[in-house]
């Protein structure tokens, strides 16, 4: 049996730039960012971080989950809510959107041929709450769902149980490449005929415990103006702005797409990954692993570099990270005589860590369907390092035919995904 083709048939998004498809597309068209003022909820923590990509309409800031609020029409039973991390309600909403947009019946969600891969860093906040309680009161006074709500596999445990998933399931943990890996392996499962349909669900908290440790790494921008804080490829970029939220994509085999008679958002043509073998936190200065990841993604997709007409860059607005990706893009495209349009939508969304790759895969899929190419916002003065790249600063009313999306995580893990217009 030849490899099955794989399509994106459903999307759910809860993000700083919108809590549904329409809102996200509108933000992309108008280059509207999702940042708001941030100050630590625990006011005794000294912090110079001023901005975050906030999720609107959800309030999951309370230490008590029964105080959490979320928009209509999402209702979550107490016995479902109690085992969720703070980003759980985002995913609940994303699953509902994704199932609806894919047009899936209950039986199509729950069967042996439908699985779910997830990515989330877990919840440092809940781990802190529960271990504090452990030290104070002992284990028998800790919430019985404390572990499943907080450790890194939490999205898998919760979503598999809640949506009665019977196929493959696993949580992926490679920091900012996590959901890229989840998408890649979900692609493989369908291409190899092991599953007919895969959900890929990714999410992150946004709170003191998720965000501020990155300040300790000197990875966050301390600017107070959104345009100066999150500005990938700009000369004065000095760190990223953190965001939380959730994204779910539904991937399906060509057979399923035909059987159900649905129109996909896009085709996921293939993917590639490779590692830097360089530094625990920083990317390789020449983008060594990312170059290989992109080339493998092209080979896996059967696409020549010249056929890529848009690259959604990982570029988070850090000095070193953007530089290394820029060099990798030059190597793979510019030096071969190609100049695909390039942008980083993190200028608008902020950097969602484990969420980033899935959010950008959803954004790319939406752009392929809607026929737009998102611009790279907040560039006032382009870093001369990137002059050779075709970085577009405004959103174009013409969509790409074949797009590539990059993600890079700690330890130099790099994933590239290739999508094609349907």
């Amino acid at each position: 049996m030849g490899a099955q083709r794989v399509f994106v048939t459903g999307i759910g998004i809860v993000s700083s730039i919108g809590n549904d498809e329409a809102a996200v597309v509108e933000s992309l068209r108008g280059l509207k960012h999702g940042f708001e003022a941030f100050s630590p909820q625990n006011s005794s923590i000294p912090s110079d971080v001023k901005l975050a990509g906030t999720v609107k309409g959800f309030d999951v800031s309370s230490a008590d989950f029964e105080d959490w609020t979320f928009p209509e029409p999402y209702r979550i039973r107490r016995d479902v809510l109690r085992s969720l991390p703070p980003h759980g309600p985002y995913l609940h909403a994303c699953m509902a959107q994704a199932i609806e947009s894919a047009g899936l019946e209950d039986a199509e969600v729950s069967n042996l041929d439908t699985g779910i891969y997830t990515s989330s860093a877990g919840s440092a906040r809940l781990i802190h709450q529960n271990t504090s309680r452990l030290h104070q009161l002992g284990p028998m006074r800790c919430p019985p769902t404390g572990i499943v709500a907080s450790i890194a596999g939490t999205l898998s445990f919760n979503l598999v149980a809640q949506f009665k998933i019977r196929g493959n399931s696993c949580g992926f943990s490679s920091a900012c490449a996590s959901s890229g890996h989840a998408l890649g392996y979900a692609y493989d499962d369908i291409a190899l005929g092991r599953q007919k349909r895969m959900f890929v669900a990714a999410g992150e908290d946004l709170n003191d415990e998720s965000l501020l440790p990155f300040s300790g790494m000197r990875a966050l921008s301390l600017e107070g103006e959104p345009e100066r804080a999150s500005c990938p490829f700009d000369k004065s970029r000095n760190g990223f702005v953190s965001t939380g939220g959730g994204t779910v994509l539904v991937l399906e085999s060509e057979e399923e797409v035909q059987r159900r008679g649905v129109t996909p958002y896009a085709e996921l043509l293939g993917w590639g990954q490779a590692s830097d073998g360089h530094n625990v936190a920083m990317s390789h200065p020449e983008g060594l692993g990312l170059i290989e990841a992109m080339q493998r993604a092209l080979r896996s997709s059967g696409i020549a570099a010249g056929e890529i007409d848009y690259v959604n860059a990982h570029a988070t607005s850090t000095h070193v990270g953007d530089l290394s990706e820029g060099r990798a893009l030059k190597k793979v495209f510019v030096e071969q005589g190609h100049s695909p349009k390039v942008s980083s939508t993190k200028a608008l969304t902020g950097h969602g860590l484990s969420l980033a790759s899935a959010l950008e895969a959803a954004i790319v899929s939406l752009c392929l369907r809607k026929g737009i190419t998102p611009g790279s916002a907040h560039i006032r003065e382009l870093d001369p390092e990137f002059e050779d790249l075709n970085i577009i600063r405004e959103t174009l009313d013409e969509g790409p035919s074949v797009a590539l999306s990059n993600s890079s995580g700690f330890g130099g893990a790099n994933v590239s995904l290739v999508f094609r217009k349907v």
Partner: protein, 285 residues
């Protein structure tokens, strides 16, 4: 029970909250009557307040649609079957009871608390210093499988409860039992012989779980020797749950005799006047 920890994420409170405030915080989603009763209990130690506190805490964990079942029901209301609570919710409720009333409940004690009455009686007993064991003792499948010599795929008992000379139990017919393929072709009917076997297994379980004088190895040498007065009243199909019960009639070593019956949805499905088991010494087995 919330995931609330130390509140270290919130602004630090200036003073250590007193016990009354902590209690109010613990019970913050319970009815005002529950909180009043818990505070009064803390003051007076009056055990008659316990049911109000316990029921108030249980109610706080229920989905809106089952609250009336608790309010209008009596002590026989079952937490899992009638109120839709799962074992995690039971843990949450028990932890709140422990914190509110200052009692401590062990995991193995929790298994026996099946009904509102069990819980109220148990807590009152704990607090008044009279240890009452729940009226009947409940056994989940794991404990049954650990006691009985019969094992899957020939184990026809999934839960069991023992109350003195009586034992009751359940077996849900899944439809996946291999023998249903041939009994009958394209028409799965649970065999009467297996229904009798299930009652025998419940008798064996009662014997092994209650007989403290038994010699080691009894579980390896207990056999079905006879049945009298067997009647079957209805056909049992996949999806139905057999409600089994046996009663110890007499014991004259090495023989032990039970009567038994099976209900399905309250309808009589089978009855047997006598099931005789023999507990043979190992070498004779």
């Amino acid at each position: 029970m919330s995931n609330e920890g130390t509140n270290s994420n919130l602004s630090a409170s200036p003073a250590e909250p007193n016990a009354e405030e902590l209690l109010k915080e613990t019970l913050k989603r319970c009815s005002p009557e529950t909180i009043t009763a818990a505070l009064a209990f803390r003051q007076s130690g009056d055990v008659s307040l316990v049911p109000t506190v316990v029921l108030g805490i249980v109610e706080r964990f229920l989905e809106p649609e089952v609250i009336d079942t608790l309010r209008n029901g009596d002590d026989s209301v079952k937490f899992m079957e009638d109120l839709g609570m799962d074992s995690l919710t039971m843990f949450e409720a028990i932890m709140m009871v422990e914190e509110s009333l200052g009692v401590s409940i062990k995991n193995e004690e929790l298994w026996d608390l099946r009904t509102v009455g069990d819980l109220k009686g148990f807590i009152s007993g704990k607090l008044s210093g009279v240890e009452v064991t729940a009226k009947s003792k409940f056994y989940p499948i794991e404990q049954i499988a650990a006691v009985l010599p019969q094992q899957k795929p020939f184990l026809f008992l999934q839960t069991a409860e023992i109350d003195g000379k009586n034992a009751s139990g359940t077996y849900a017919i899944s439809g996946k039992e291999d023998f249903l393929e041939g009994h009958f072709k394209d028409n799965p009917v649970f065999p009467a012989s297996i229904m009798l076997e299930a009652l025998g297994q419940l008798g064996v379980f009662h014997f092994l779980a209650t007989d403290e004088s038994q010699a080691d190895g009894a579980e390896e040498s207990i056999f079905f020797t006879g049945a009298d007065g067997v009647r079957c009243h209805r056909v049992c199909k996949p999806g139905e749950t057999l409600e089994l019960s046996v009663e110890l009639k007499r014991r004259r070593d090495p023989m032990v005799v039970y009567s038994g019956k099976i209900l399905v949805n309250g309808e009589k499905a089978a009855s047997v006047e006598e099931i005789a088991l023999i507990v043979a010494p190992k070498e004779q087995a």
